[in-house]
């Protein structure tokens, strides 16, 4: 009898791998936006470098809809076994629970890292008579409601910037919302006069548009001649950040592994070069930093939204 038990233990010991090394099977990468978009392109660039540091392959799964809320919700509800991670955007994950009855909150995620910091910019058509931001604000004040400002949204980074501006300054304009990149076309075609857009999106139509200011703390390397909003006299900063997350209950050891591999990629100069080639505003931040930022920013966003809703 004892011999049998010993044999069984031996067999089990051989068959069941003792403490299988994580990760030992493909990892699901959930992308909340369509294939071919900025989020997808950036993730694919990372994939190239991930494959150098880890045996586990990424399995891309696109769960689109509701401005990303569907995909983010999937990540929040996924099994926290370390085999499902995904891309995330802020301020989307802060606004969606407030405005859209989303299935998650910012506390449902473990933050792996931040990879992109895409500041908003104020842009006009090349043929526009506005040469700087002050002229825009002056025109708006003198002609309330006449100026048409394009935003992506609602409930997006651009929309948030718009609300921020209106809460701080007198800016009586008519907002017009777009789903995405058609915003550029509307500006180029003259349907709107001004747009608040992403730096990344504006870059691809640069020969048709004039960027008048950037809502960041410092000027961008891509557009060294463009002043910040603060330099132009307006205290507004607005960014869309992209990063990677996992379900909140993931084991600490697995989260540490993911953070360490992503750190290696983020600090790889080759990766940085690829990001610049692809026109992505690359800014790598560790998971812990990203998490701190999200929590702090979340408070600000919640307050801004609450005030607006009154």
């Amino acid at each position: 009898m004892k011999k049998l038990l010993l044999l069984l233990a031996l067999v089990l010991g051989l068959v069941v791998p003792a403490g299988a090394e994580y990760p030992d099977k493909p990892i699901n990468m959930i992308i909340a936006f369509s294939a071919g978009g900025s989020s997808d392109v950036q993730a694919r660039l990372m994939q190239k470098y991930w494959d150098k540091h880890s045996k586990a392959k990424w399995n891309f799964i696109y769960k689109t809809g509701a401005g990303g809320a569907v995909g983010f919700g999937e990540i929040a509800k996924a099994r926290p076994d370390g085999y499902t991670i995904g891309g995330v955007n802020t301020p989307h994950i802060m606004i969606q629970p407030l405005a859209q009855k989303a299935q998650y909150t910012v506390n449902d995620f473990a933050y792996i890292c931040q990879v992109v910091n895409d500041p908003q910019v104020v842009a006009v058509n090349k043929k526009s008579s506005f040469k700087n931001v002050k002229e825009i604000f002056d025109f708006a004040k003198e002609n309330p409601g006449k100026l048409k400002v394009g935003l992506i949204g609602p409930n997006s980074g651009q929309h948030l910037m718009f609300l921020d501006v209106q809460s701080k300054y007198d800016f009586p304009v008519t907002p017009v919302f777009y789903k995405g990149i058609e915003q550029n076309m509307a500006l180029m075609g003259g349907e709107i006069d001004v747009m608040f857009g992403n730096l990344n999106d504006v870059m691809r139509s640069l020969d048709q548009l004039n960027v008048l200011a950037i809502a960041a703390d410092k000027r961008s390397d891509f557009l060294a001649d463009v002043p910040t909003l603060r330099e132009s006299g307006y205290d507004v900063e607005s960014y869309i950040r992209r990063g990677f997350i996992a379900p909140a209950k993931i084991e600490k050891s697995k989260l540490d592994y993911l953070r360490s591999v992503f750190d290696k990629i983020g600090n790889d100069p080759e990766y940085a070069k690829d990001m610049i080639t692809a026109g992505q505003p690359h800014e790598y931040r560790s998971g812990a930093e990203f998490e701190m930022f999200v929590m702090k920013e979340n408070e600000r966003v919640v307050n801004l939204f609450k005030n607006v809703k009154q």
């Binding site: 369509s34 294939a35 071919g36 978009g37 900025s38 997808d40 392109v41 694919r44 660039l45 994939q47 190239k48 399995n59 799964i61 696109y62 769960k63 689109t64 809809g65 509701a66 401005g67 809320a69 569907v70 919700g73 405005a99 859209q100 009855k101 299935q103 409601g145 006449k146 100026l147 048409k148 949204g153 609602p154 409930n155 304009v173 008519t174 907002p175 017009v176 919302f177 777009y178 789903k179 990149i181 058609e182 550029n184 076309m185 509307a186 180029m188 075609g189 003259g190 349907e191 870059m203 691809r204 139509s205 640069l206 020969d207 048709q208 080639t277 692809a278 026109g279």
Partner: protein
């Protein structure tokens, strides 16, 4: 420009590139032909492969897949009345009747040659007129896009001559379905019937898979036919079709291709709208419009040339403005930008060698498509030789995995099945699935652009100012009005022809007019939908509510009118007049529907392949009542199960790495 083109030629004769193009074409055609797999998915799946290739070969391959997939949809449209991609909806109108008449080869070859022609015209537009056309496209804003969609929608009126009320009701129902999900203006969830799942809205493609594929499965299984259609291949059909197209269809092909190229240029408007508008215009200017829909090559030519011309059109703003004209163009743009190619008007100079290599490759691809497509079409036509039962069962499996594969959501499978039921109901009650699909496709765009017009109006002061402000908008308004009025005249002409003096007023119901019970069934269904939606409206705020409210009012009015008509018909010809057609085998239909439902439910606990195997085995065994013996039934069931599971695994899991639904219990999907 000539030097650029000459410089591009060496890339095209490179054997590796040629291999990529042919492989891309073949793969694209197969993906396009499978209902559920779309061009977008096909191209997106191959984008990672381009990271290891150089920019030019990678781009050439993606372009080939795009062209193949958009053409490929016509194969399924013809053979099983299911648009393989949304762009082929209008192709089903005439290609399927051709198939039923035993002339599937005519349908297949016509779509092949028309697609090739359309693709070449689209590429010519891209090559010579990219810059001016892109600047023209910039003039399409909210109001213009709105009128374009309304124009597309107005084709419903033209398509349903004789049954206008039901056509309009079907379209309105489709529009109503499209309002489920997040409101485009307030971003608040709407009509979700209490479930979060519906916040994602109803995706167009699973709805179409249901409306066309699955409902067709139910119709076919209920019929008494042993095969989908009797196939009588005509020798030398390719040359006959070519002659017919060059002799009779030159104007149609040219006009449809131009429509396709122009519509393709507009972001948001794609192959579905272009092919339907092209089809409708062909019909309108034809000497005998009533023959459209009975199986004429002209209808297929119009639809297929338009949807392939869309490709060239969609690439125009992609290259020149960085704004993709279609979902596939968006994917291609992503791949380009990852390689550091910056879109803009300078793309013809700065990245000139890449751009011209790609454009010239599109010419080559559209020509190569003819032999490649021809061989594949011959192969696919053999499908008609398989017993209908097994084809129907196979389609169900493909529909399930196809709907799942779109965004890895079992909800979409549920949507497909639900719409399968709805589609079957439509076929029994005279409602039209094509117009319903059109409503689902155009609904979001109409509502978005309508809202945008209202937003713009706030700065203009007057709403009217916004709606009819530009020459383009005015032109589209006129076209829409024409579109709505012309079928009324067509109908009058038809009625004049058919009324013979002294005709017996007690004659039996004319063939083609719906009997009363069909009208009542349609009314009943519509009222159910109205009630379900109306119950949900209490929690909406005003702006979200406007568009659905208009639809609900319209539907109610339409139902009342239809009820009146049904009542009149009942008085004249009785509730169930003898139609002379065959009655469907109800038992088979019910079993198939129930089986499909259980199959989908079984996927959650059991996983995809076990559930599929069970479904295939059970259904094949049960539905194969024509088999000679019990043993034969068992054997056939095993063969079908084994073969289809292997094919699906090979194609989806091995080749395409499409994730299959994982079970909750087991790890293996």
């Amino acid at each position: 420009m000539l030097e650029n083109i000459l410089q591009a030629l060496p890339h095209l004769v490179d054997p590796f590139n040629l291999l990529l193009m042919i492989g891309g074409l073949a793969g694209g055609i197969i993906i396009g032909a499978l209902p559920g797999l779309t061009a977008t998915m096909g191209v997106a799946l191959m984008v990672p492969a381009t990271f290891s290739l150089d920019a030019i070969p990678g781009l050439l391959m993606l372009g080939a897949i795009y062209v193949g997939a958009i053409y490929g949809g016509a194969n399924a449209a013809c053979l099983i009345c299911t648009p393989g991609t949304p762009s082929s909806v209008a192709t089903t109108f005439d290609a399927w009747p051709l198939c039923q008449k035993g002339r599937a080869d005519v349908g297949l070859n016509t779509s092949l040659l028309s697609s090739s022609f359309g693709g070449i015209i689209g590429t010519l537009l891209l090559l010579f007129l990219a810059a001016p056309l892109a600047r023209f496209a910039l003039n399409f804003g909210g109001p213009e896009n709105l009128w374009l969609c309304l124009f597309g929608l107005s084709t419903i009126a033209a398509m349903s001559t004789g049954n206008l009320i039901k056509g309009l009701l079907s379209g309105a129902l489709g529009l109503l379905v499209a309002t489920i999900g997040i409101d485009p203006h307030t971003a608040y969830p709407r009509f979700t019937f209490g479930t979060y799942a519906l916040v994602q809205g109803v995706e167009v493609i699973p709805a179409m898979i249901g409306l066309f594929s699955i409902s067709q499965v139910l119709v076919l299984i209920g019929s008494h036919k042993p095969h989908i259609a009797e196939y009588q291949p005509t020798p030398g059909v390719f040359w006959k079709v070519l002659k017919k197209l060059t002799r009779d269809c030159k104007m149609i092909l040219l006009r449809s291709s131009l429509i396709g190229g122009l519509v393709g240029m507009l972001p948001g408007a794609g192959g579905e709208i272009a092919s339907i508008i092209a089809y409708n215009e062909s019909k309108r200017w034809d000497k005998e419009p009533s023959r459209y829909g009975t199986g004429v090559e002209e209808g297929v030519a119009a639809s297929e040339s338009a949807n392939n011309a869309v490709i060239g059109g969609a690439l125009i703003p992609m290259f020149t403005l960085g704004i993709p004209g279609s979902a596939v163009a968006a994917v291609i743009l992503g791949a380009l930008m990852a390689k550091g190619i910056q879109p803009g008007f300078k793309v013809f100079t700065v990245s000139g060698d890449l751009t011209y290599a790609f454009i010239t490759s599109q010419f080559v691809v559209n020509l190569l498509m003819i032999p490649v497509g021809f061989i594949l079409a011959r192969f696919m036509a053999k499908l008609l030789a398989i017993r209908l039962t097994f084809v129907a069962i196979g389609i169900v499996v493909l529909s399930v995995i196809g709907s799942y594969a779109i965004r890895n959501s079992m909800l979409d499978v549920g949507v497909a099945l639900a719409f399968g039921g709805i589609g079957y109901l439509c076929s029994r009650s005279g409602l039209d699935t094509g117009t319903m699909a059109l409503g689902i496709i155009l609904g979001p765009m109409i509502e978005e652009n309508l809202g945008k017009c209202f937003q713009l109006a706030k700065s203009e002061g007057s709403v009217l100012n916004v709606f009819a402000n530009s020459p383009i908008a005015l032109f589209l308004i006129v076209m829409t009005l024409l579109s709505v009025i012309s079928p009324y005249f067509l109908n009058k002409k038809r009625k004049i022809k058919t009324v013979v003096p002294g005709q017996d007023m007690d004659a039996p119901a004319p063939v083609g007019e719906d009997p009363a019970w069909k009208d009542f069934l349609a009314v009943f269904f519509t009222m159910l939908v109205i009630a379900a939606f109306a119950a949900q409206t209490s929690e909406l705020d005003e702006l979200s509510f406007l568009f659905p409210l208009c639809l609900l009012v319209f539907l109610t009015a339409g139902s009342v009118l239809l009820f009146g008509r049904g009542f009149r018909r009942m008085k004249r010809w009785g509730l169930f007049p003898d139609e002379g057609g065959e009655r469907p085998q109800a038992r088979k239909v019910i079993v198939m529907a129930a089986g499909a439902l259980l199959y989908a439910l079984a996927i959650m606990p059991l996983g995809f392949y076990p559930a599929t195997a069970l479904f295939l085995f059970g259904m094949s065994y049960y539905q194969n009542s024509a088999a000679p013996s019990r043993l034969n039934r068992l054997g056939m069931a095993l063969v079908v199960t084994g073969l289809l599971c292997a094919l699906v695994w090979f194609g989806f899991t091995y080749l395409l790495s499409v994730p299959t639904p994982a079970s909750i219990l087991f790890e293996a999907g």
